[in-house]
Amino acid sequence: MRASSLLSECLAVLSKDLTAELRSRVALNAVGLFGLTTLIAVAYQIGPYRIQEQDRPFLLAALLWIILFFAATSGLSRTFVKEEDAHTAKTLRLAARPLAVFGGKLLFNLILLAALFVFIVPLYCALMGYAVAGVPGLVAVLAAGVCGLAGTSTLVAAIIARASGSNTLFAILSVPLVLPLLVMLIQGTRAAAGAPDFAVVLPALRGIVSLTGVTVVTSIFLFPVVWHD
């Protein structure tokens, strides 16, 4: 019988993942280094002056999300792949409920992405001379982006960990699912950078939040199928 609630089990899985990650820093290195190298490469080549004034808003928003998305995909699948490769997945399968594992891993991916965004975005704005008019709007879009990316890719990570576990398969499977999210995020970022008031960001936010909600709810129903044989 379960004396504890689902939430405390999710937090147990999360704290385990965090301590393991802080000691081995597998996903952190992958995500951080990938993000940094692409950012430096882009900033070095383009920098704040080489784009003409009229197409700066489109380009800078799109470039930001390209860097963030590909940095994310290099690290998001680690949490599940490591469990399968180290054979700890079977022990966890026999110890925890599937929803607790999904919750814990989702929260872990959220924190990992939040760390990546906090690290890369300010650097990006500085190196690329990206003047953002509506900072609260941008922060809202970024937060929605963290939830969206983590929500979509957690189940995909679980799927590929049970398949071949390769990162390329993770990118192939998550691209079509993340595409609508990316289009809305880029549109939201462009709007947030353009105008200071918050209302301009709302249409994109509505789209992102509803897509993330639908994806997370579907993933909750699908996760037990993927996690257990």
Partner: protein
Amino acid sequence: MTRDQVRTTLHWLLGIWLLAVIAAAFFYAPTARSFKGESARIVFFHVPQAWVAVLAFCVNLIASLRFLRRRELLDDARAAAAARLGLAFSVLATVTGSIFANVMWNSFWNWDPREVSIVILLVIYAAYFALRQAVADDERRAALSAAYAVLAFVTMPFLVFVVPRIYWSLHPDTIISSSGAIKSQMDPRMLKVLIASLVGFTGLFVWLYTLEVRVARVLSARRAQEV
């Protein structure tokens, strides 16, 4: 009339029906004012192919959900058969779509939302098959690809409805709206041929689909015998 005789008559009926559709598409239907030149008649083939690609995706979803409930490998075979046909038809739809775009807006690709959603459907099919190749055990492959099919289907509406509307606000000045609008101001004869073509292509899809499922059923029966 045994089932086989019914089936062969239906097949011959479908054959003649599509012959008539092809003939009508080239000779019976006039080219509407908004079409430039004769080769825009390809719309009679492009729209049904896109429709069959989406139909195949729905059949794949239903088969996947049925597999998740009943865990029968035959449902997985159905899902895979529908996905294969869906992939073939979405490739055809993309090719005919770009030819159609080239004729209408003299550029092979100009981000018309209908084209974007068909190509994304193509990418989803490709990812679905990449996943199926990557799993060895057939029970697990069935479960994982069923889960992915359901997840991809859920994000599909966002692709088809939300992205184009947001995208339009970015480029309001594109020349003509998506082919959906053209359909409404077509003249009645063109509409009749298009509907006939839709029915014909759906019949073709059903025929190919049942063929594949019958093969899968025979193979699984043979494997069950060997155990």
